[in-house]
């Protein structure tokens, strides 16, 4: 597979307020570099992420979407991340059914203490999405900004 | 310190010697302690330091019974017996360094000795 070196993917990261957003802050505090492609949207809990948001991001031209939540058992709201896990599993089935690469969507558990993991995860995910190339199948060309 | 040797021993032993907290329980439980010049905890520490040639030259490597008492009782999961074995292998794999030659065996036999003892010895002391 050919990787376009100049391709800079657009990556949307949904981070829960209690663990992963704090983990992202921590990687900043520790000055751990990760690609600028990643832009974070803060949500109270990973279970706030409606699969619709993910599809919307792809429609609008995102090349990758990553959802980060607290580790299983550590959810601030007790069970939110379990819902997320099930919903994303279902979303994968739907993406498979539609023929969309499931590797463009990822779910990761990052705690507030895992700044290094957050940075490493974003680094890896950006590299993976880069290898996949631009998202063409789901992008709605009418949405593309000229 | 021989870095290659250390790397070889760590790779072949598959042990993370850095997990050791220096409690000495391996040496406290070792049934061969009295026969060894270097004791299980020293094997772990000396491999960590990279001082492996000293261990390879010592008779201690042939005194370990591989009974795994240190492996099962180590609080940190260090597995010292595997370190000893890795060092021993590093020694017997050197050219002409077999600790036991087949020609020596007949002299060591007695009528009841199970051949299990012979195959075990060959496996442990020779390449």
């Amino acid at each position: 597979m050919q990787v376009n070196e100049n391709f800079e993917p657009v990556i949307v990261a949904f981070c829960c307020n209690w663990c992963s957003y704090a983990g992202a802050d921590l990687s900043g505090t520790n000055r751990l570099n990760y690609p600028t492609n990643v832009k974070i949207i803060r949500v109270p809990c990973s279970c706030r992420v409606n699969p619709m948001f993910i599809l919307r991001a792809f429609q609008k031209g995102a090349d990758g979407v990553i959802i980060c939540g607290c580790h299983p058992g550590d959810c601030h709201y007790t069970s939110g991340n379990y819902f997320t896990r099930r919903r994303i599993t279902l979303l994968y089935s739907m993406l498979d059914f539609l023929g969309i690469e499931r590797n463009r969507t990822r779910l990761e558990w990052v705690s507030a203490a895992e700044g290094a993991k957050f940075a490493a995860t974003m680094e890896q995910f950006t590299a993976d999405v880069k290898a996949l190339g631009p998202n063409r199948r789901l992008e709605d060309l009418r949405c593309r900004k000229q | 310190m021989n870095k290659n040797l250390k790397e070889q021993v760590l790779r072949s032993g598959g042990v993370n010697v850095l997990k050791c907290m220096r409690c000495g329980k391996c040496s406290g439980t070792c049934p061969s302690y009295g026969e060894m010049e270097y004791h299980p905890h020293q094997f772990v520490y000396m491999v960590e330091k990279g001082d492996i040639e000293t261990l390879m030259k010592s008779e201690s490597i042939y005194k370990c019974l591989t009974c795994f008492a240190c492996v099962d009782r180590c609080p940190r999961g260090v597995e010292p017996a595997k370190v000893v074995e890795a060092v021993r292998l590093a020694a017997v794999r050197q050219q002409g360094n077999n600790h036991l030659e087949p020609s020596e065996i007949p002299a060591l036999l007695d009528e009841d000795l199970p051949q299990q003892a012979i195959v075990t010895a060959m496996r442990k002391y020779a390449k």
């Binding site: - | 032993g13 061969s32 005194k63 051949q115």
Partner: protein, 265 residues
């Protein structure tokens, strides 16, 4: 009748015929069919834990594979074989690198990556026959006899791979002793190495270790010691300097089941 692939190992064919013979007659009486594969080889006696030792593990993988092909569990009675085979099974089912190297050597029709259930004869008595069932079949109970179980190192450790019993407080042989009507003697050295491994290298050490084991058993009032390992038996008898008799557990089993005389005819 449950069928097992039976791996006797080298020593059971020669110096430890008792261990083998009594195991076979007893199994038959207990409704267990032991089928020996045609082309087994010696397991090597000691498991090499080194990650870069592949050739020494092949014969164990071969026998594991023949049990897999026969679609039966694998059973061993010699502690050393058991230890080697269980450790091999443990590692090959977890260590992909080892599995791929082993299979490159062996070139089996289908690669072996673990899956054979490995039993020690004692585990078969416990988990398949059941000690309660065994007790019912005993005709010559060892009533009042104080019997010390000697596990040694091979039956129990490394506990992760062997997974037979609690390595520090095992009960399987004691339960066996109770099933054949005897009284088990608990002594702390029962799970310490007898030094048999080193008997060719350092007789003095083997004497010291076996002496400690037998001394501890006698000290706690044992009349006899039983074991599953030919090397332990040899070492405890020959090197310990103790007058306590040492037997294979299968010999007591056959005697309890009333099969000992018959099998010696």
């Amino acid at each position: 009748m449950e069928t097992f692939t039976y791996y006797p190992g080298c020593t059971l064919r020669t110096k430890a015929k008792d261990l083998d013979t009594y195991a076979r007659v007893s199994a038959e009486a207990l409704g267990i069919k032991l089928e020996e594969p045609a082309d087994w080889q010696c397991c090597g006696g000691a498991y090499t834990t080194a990650k870069d030792e592949i050739a020494t593990k092949l014969s164990a993988v071969r026998v594991l594979n023949s049990a897999k092909e026969a679609e039966t569990p694998l059973i061993t009675v010699c502690s050393a074989c058991h230890n080697v085979i269980k450790q091999t099974e443990y590692d090959i089912s977890r260590d992909e690198e080892m599995a791929s190297k082993v299979n490159n050597y062996l070139g089996l029709s289908e690669p072996y990556t673990g899956g054979t259930k490995v039993y020690h004869y004692l585990e078969m008595l416990r988990d398949v026959v059941g000690f309660d069932k065994l007790k019912e079949k005993v005709v010559n109970p060892f009533t009042g006899r104080k019997i010390a179980a000697y596990y040694g190192c091979l039956l129990l450790r490394p506990a992760k791979a062997l997974a037979m019993d609690d390595p520090e407080n095992p009960t399987i042989i004691e339960d066996f002793i109770r099933a054949i009507g005897g009284t088990p003697v608990i002594y702390a050295q029962r799970n310490e190495c007898c030094g048999g491994y080193i008997t060719m290298e350092d007789k003095a050490q083997a004497q010291k270790r076996s002496g400690a084991v037998m001394g501890s058993a006698k000290d706690m009032g044992a009349e006899m010691v039983i074991t599953a390992c030919p090397l332990c038996l040899y070492n405890l008898k020959k090197n310990s300097g103790s007058d306590l008799p040492v037997y294979y557990f299968t010999e007591l089993l056959a005697e309890a089941l009333g099969l000992k005389e018959a099998s010696n005819e």
